[in-house]
Symmetry: C3
Subunit: 346 residues, 3 copies
């Protein structure tokens, strides 16, 4: 089954996804949709019991569903143990992104000492600097800049307007979104008589395979050795990764999170959006940090961690803010009351 040659027969999709059809296996699926918005010719998925009411009235031609809920569907189904995973896999069949089409567009500048695979595609106005090596089936979108000695392994996709500084290594099948900047100088200065003396950032950035890096995300080069993003890591948009950070295998970080220099995030972590992690920390494998938390100490035990306060009407919030400033005093007054009560009893 070739990608994007929709419509597909339901039977054909089921066999591709390793599921079992109940209902009309010959029905044609043109696209995917949510339970709520799906119409005839569309395939939806049911992966959360919360949406049972939507399932019961869906207009979809078919639904990806687990065995225990299959009876509740008002239409044909593909039965799978993990319908959400099935949906993820199905989405690739309907992805309209054109295949990489080997060739070099107008306005591209490739340095004489760079190497570009004959199967790579470089879009308009891309520049490739000295010593760079562009692997097989690599795609580089319009106006992206590839620095000296960069190495893009097979199947890497760099979208438009990406900047790779010098010495960036990117493993197979990784995807970099527009506006990302990989390898800018880490923020390193030595104070001297009220001014700052720059510490030249002499390391690079090493990115594993199957990594995704979101739009506008910045990953600084290391001061001496490399900043490292391990295999399978997923970084959302506008994340800031400082010099010499290590993000461990298959960790996922949501938008607008910032990680300060030399911090090591373990494998299999999830970090929600807007989190700040200060420098030189270790975050244990399997840690989960909730949105907008400040992490200023290492996390040695996997688990879920949070900081901050919850939303309140601003007027009441102002009163809590005042009291937060008095908290130590309030705690001491409680202690003192407890002693007085003890004494009066005695």
């Amino acid at each position: 089954m070739s990608r994007s040659e929709s419509p597909f027969q339901l039977d054909e999709l089921a066999s591709h996804l390793g599921g079992k059809v109940r209902g009309d296996g010959a029905c044609l699926i043109e696209s995917l949709a949510t339970l709520e918005e799906a119409k005839k010719g569309q395939l939806a998925f049911f992966a959360n019991a919360r949406y049972l009411n939507q399932l019961k009235v869906t207009q979809a031609s078919a639904v990806l569903i687990s065995p225990e809920y299959a009876d509740a569907a008002p239409c044909s189904v593909i039965i799978l143990d993990n319908p959400y995973l099935g949906f993820a896999r199905a989405s690739h069949q309907f992805d309209p992104t054109p295949d990489v089409c080997a060739g070099i567009a107008a306005g591209v500048q490739v340095h004489a000492m760079a190497s570009v695979s004959a199967t790579a595609q470089l879009e308009a106005n891309v520049t490739v600097a000295e010593g760079a090596v562009i692997g097989d089936h690599v795609y580089v979108g319009p106006n992206s800049v590839i620095g000296r000695n960069c190495r893009l392994d097979a199947g890497v996709r760099i979208n438009a307007n990406v900047t790779l500084y010098d010495d960036i290594k990117i493993g197979e099948n990784s995807l970099i979104h527009s506006g990302a900047v990989i390898g800018a100088d880490g923020f390193g200065f030595a104070p001297n008589a009220g001014k700052w003396v720059k510490i030249c950032q002499l390391g690079g950035v090493s990115i594993g395979k199957d990594v995704e890096i979101g739009a506008g995300t910045t990953i600084d080069r290391g001061a001496l050795s490399d900043t490292v993003i391990e295999d399978g890591v997923k970084l959302d948009n506008q994340i800031q990764i400082a010099h010499n950070v290590v993000v461990g295998k298959n960790s996922a970080i949501a938008g607008c999170t910032a990680v300060a220099g030399s911090t090591k995030i373990g494998a299999g972590c999830t970090v929600a959006g807007g989190v700040g992690i200060t420098g030189h920390l270790n975050i244990a494998d399997g840690s989960h940090i909730t949105a907008m938390s400040l992490v200023s100490k290492s996390v040695s035990k996997p688990g879920a961690y949070s900081s901050g306060t919850g939303l309140m009407p601003s007027k009441q919030w102002k009163r809590s803010v005042v009291r937060f400033r008095q908290l130590d005093d309030l705690a001491k007054r409680i202690k003192s009351l407890e002693e007085k009560i003890e004494t009066s009893k005695g």
Copy 2:
């Protein structure tokens, strides 16, 4: 009165703004300035009683002012009910941005199957992909990239180094600032045996008319249906809008705020800078969220909301932070003291 043909006579400006001159209507206004910095030949505005002392000594040739304060000005005035609005309107007269000048610069690449209005202006190195439609009087700044099947309606302005992925629709007179990335993949993955399987993001982005989108702001494409920015919305710099978010009509969001997937922000909201709004929430029309708040539950009633704590000397702050961790215990000890006191009275 044509834009930018300054100097203007005060009378001329007043008539354009719908105000009434008191003083020298023939005086020439060359530019705008604040009350504090204005000199001869400049027009200032008085919109906040807090600046009354500055008004009294301003060197401006004229001031935009409301009737009740007109007597306090030491110079000519244009009397208006809403001087701040008058100032906003006057600013357009002094805007030096050149008019759109139809034509296609050197290095531009327009796909044979794209359509570009004869009145549009494409600056150097712009690329326009297959199926894109560029409307009348559209401006696209240098090095911007317009993806497949994008539709830019009349009067849209895209500044330099903007990236529009495929399937982005932008309504009349909207303005996109440099470094913005519209339509990168939403952050969607299904977990599978410790790894992440990408969910292809098959929706687009639909942006209304009279929208402004700040520098470095990222708006992800929808997973299945579109991410939606309604008419009149104003987004500041470095905002992150995740897939399938809806931002309602005329809402304004300040810099560095992040909105997670599928959240719906109502109409007429203001969200201050650095706010984080988690996914799948509904924020009521007319809500106002203060700076750096975390919104992790839906807001059903309009009003002002906040979270976080206030600034303190770091040394005292550390003590409050320790006590915050003990808050539940402290509250229970208060309860216990109350019971003991009750008992001892009894």
Copy 3:
């Protein structure tokens, strides 16, 4: 001693750095490394007593070190009063960035009314608009855009994919990283009948000398007068500086911090990452703000300031969040208990 002509003799480096060799002054140094990772042919530095154990077993050929620790090194040393500063200076000797190489690459568009020094280097696809003045030895990286009437003084370095709007002035030897956007419109609108009327942003941006601006950082143009970044300021990645902000001499701001309109940050301040500073404030010279703090009032006294709460297991955190909402009530109950105890004693 010319930059990047390594290896250097240790004697030669010591004399360049103003230090004194103890040990083998003829040994060759090829590169820099940390104490922990250094091997033969590498120079490390010892600047923090915490790493004394690493010093004792380092494999480095030599170490930059202060007099009091020199005896603890197992290798040759360069003795300096400030080894960290020595390291910063040494890093410049090993920086592989090529010198500016005068010339204009293919695809560059320079307006007939712009002025470019014969010693400047413009990389591929750079555009330079009308009235811009590019000084001696300026470097502009691929695909960067220089707006009308910009002025880049001698030695300025603009990396790839930078956007300078019109009227941006940058002082000598300043460095702008990729994805930075300088001079986009400040976020200014007057409300009118539920909609927003744009206030055209008529000021520019004035950046001093020896300034560094990180990747993806945005600095808005002023509404009427300029936004100002003074000499020696260091801004990390993804910082947002709103219109008419002033950042004072030699202040350093870490990643993802946002400063709202018209705020004045004094000289010699340090602001950590993820901080939010609201508009129209004054921050005293020599203030230090810790990570992710919200600054919503002016700071009149230098010192260290913080806000927020510390990281906790999410389950306990939720209980503290509930109690934070009750803080004012809790405080009143303590007060009431104190009065009752007083009374019962009386």
